[in-house]
Amino acid sequence: MNRLRRTMLFVPGNSPGMIRDAHIYGSDSIMFDLEDSVALGEKDAARHLVYQALKTIDYGTIEKVVRVNPLNTVYGQDDIEAMVQAKVNVIRLPKTETPQDILDTEEIITSIEKKADMEIGSTKMMAAIESALGVVNAYSIAISSNRLVGIALGAEDYTASLKTTRSLDGVELFFARSQIVVAARAAGIDAIDTVFSNLNDMETFEKEIRLIKQLGFDGKSVINPRQIDVVHKIFAPTEKEIEKALRILSAMKEAEEKGSGVVNLDGKMIDKPVLLRAQRMIEMAVASGMYYPEDNEEE
């Protein structure tokens, strides 16, 4: 099963209480932040804290991501070195503008993996695209490394680089969002949307999730645990969709058992994309607690 990345919870790297409990809220990924939420004077303390947390706390099956400082700062390289050694799942690079940014980071990761006797390539990467240049280069960034599991939009810096501001309906992000989804799909990786920071405006938040789901995004970065369930609910399939997907999959199983290459349902032939979507739907249903395969085995 592909890893779901519906929600990536931002956790400031300098907040012990939040780091300790980050996994209890059920997000698909946790992103410990060493970059913008940590003041310059606390960079090394935060790095140490997150390093220790990754080494000692059992976060279960949740994907552990760390947003490191950019390589053009004095913190970037130390961040990467510590996090790779702590066996983080994903290094998230901020402010990615060119494939070279990725290649530079990859080089460092590879050398640390070698030094630490780790499997080469075991540390994955994710790139945040936060500028006009980054958006234009989205596809070349997305295909620049096999370590990349996804690209994400960072809207605050991006809108600033466009010389505009954020609006409620997000019209200024429309191109960037579509560009990122298309680039991610073309590269076969995930597309993650930007954060929504007004915690009290749940209505607009919900609208935005519906929009990005429709655009094709895999998920969204969230800044507060209260946002997690809202995203998961909107990304969850409906009962009807689950039922249909199950019928498609059982038709597929039947065809396999018969040794037939063609899958038929209700007299219609089912195409490969429809089959894949049905599989994806059931994975999502299981993750959303709406479908329990073991129940059906009993029946």
Binding site: R20, I24, Y25, I57, R226, D229, G289, Y292
Partner: protein, 518 residues
Amino acid sequence: MKNYAGREIPDILLEKGKMSPYNPLITNGLKKKESLSSAERQRQSRKIVDSLEKAVALSGLQNGMTISFHHHFRDGDYVVNYVIDRLAEMGFKHLRLAASSLTNIHAPLIRHIQNHVIDSIETSGLRGELAEAISKGLMDVPVTFRSHGGRAYAISSDQLHIDVAFLGAPSCDPFGNANGYSRDTEDTSACGSMGYARVDANYADKVIILTDHIVPYPNIPFGISQYQVDYIVEIPEIGDKNKIMSGATRYTNNPRDLLIAQKAVDVIAASGYFYDGFSLQTGSGGAALATTRFLREKMIARNIKANFALGGITGQIVKLHEEGLIKKLLDVQSFDLDAAESLKNNRFHQQIDANYYADPFSEGSVVNELDVVVLSALEVDTGFNVNVLTGSDGIIRGAIGGHQDTAAGAAFSIVVAPLTRGRNSSILNHVNTLTTPGDTVDVVVTDQGIAVNPLRPEIIERMKKAHIPLSTIEELKEKAEKIVGIAEALPFEDQIVGIVTYRDGSILDVIRKIRNDH
């Protein structure tokens, strides 16, 4: 013989003095009143007394007697401090203070305890500086802690005899009809239900109402009725209505509380007690109160309505009532101003007293009709025993409230707590203070796992069927200890500072003095 009215009454009816002939000169209370207008009578009401001192003198209060108070104003209460200050000035000593509960605002009592104005205390709980001082050995006599139901029972059975009750009321008419709000005026310091005070009014020898709003007769609906009231004293302010909603009854946005609340609602929905016509109560504490919010979604999704909600009523519960999701409200205590407002305006929002609410031996106690209750805890142990009185530092910082009563009465009781608080595990081998016995607690819900009491195997089955992941209570404890380690034993000394009673009046546990430098 002929009676006063000149009618012949057969002697046989008067033998042995069983009945007496009509004579208004003897029973002068039955004489026709002077033909005063109602307005005039209200002006001349003998119940309204100029000053508290006068009312106290009239009440016959003596040194060593028991005085009582209610806590419907929580942290906004001015009455207790006002009255005890006056009693101290008047020279009273050795009084027993029987309050339905005491809060942060009652720190000035420390001085009166040191000066022996107050010798002993009965209460549901203690908080703040007073609680800390008592935990550190302030009093010679231990404080007796009773649940709300236990207090009502103790008072009605005369195990706790109240000589004079001093009851603050946001509105009162000249004959003593008092209530926690008024339909005559908008600007009262409303506290809503007077459920705990009503017990005192019913059973105390003398009842003094303190009010800042004398309203025209009759002040209906009333919480306390005119026939129970002896004296009325008008004072400038009885409380601060903005502090009714204190810490214990706050509206939370804390993600951990909300997570716990969400899990508790999943548990309720799977419990078998979530059916059309069910009943519920949410105890104080952020997570417990927040369950209402998530319950609403579940009720709508499953087309379920509740017949009634009980207890401390909150604005959240009122919203569900006004939406038609909860048909009726039984209110012994209004947790916030929205609840107080609803009691005033909503026809099916009923004020009840503490005997009606939770008295273990009354002929009808609502807690026994309750399906689901969600309660908070400071500590839980592996026997599902709960502590709601002392904090992890061993200092008193809570109240039994209706915890024991609803846990025992409800068909299904859930206790919610964060798995860890600061650097401490909420789940221990043995609670530091036992306030609610584990055999009345069915499920413990934490942010990091749910444990069902093995005494309820059918609940375990239902949870499994609904795919609710379960842990054993021991597993939860180990999980917490993995994060925060095991706390050192608290430095308790021998002196007993508190006696924790169960709702039937028996002694459940004692609280010992915590070392002073702790």
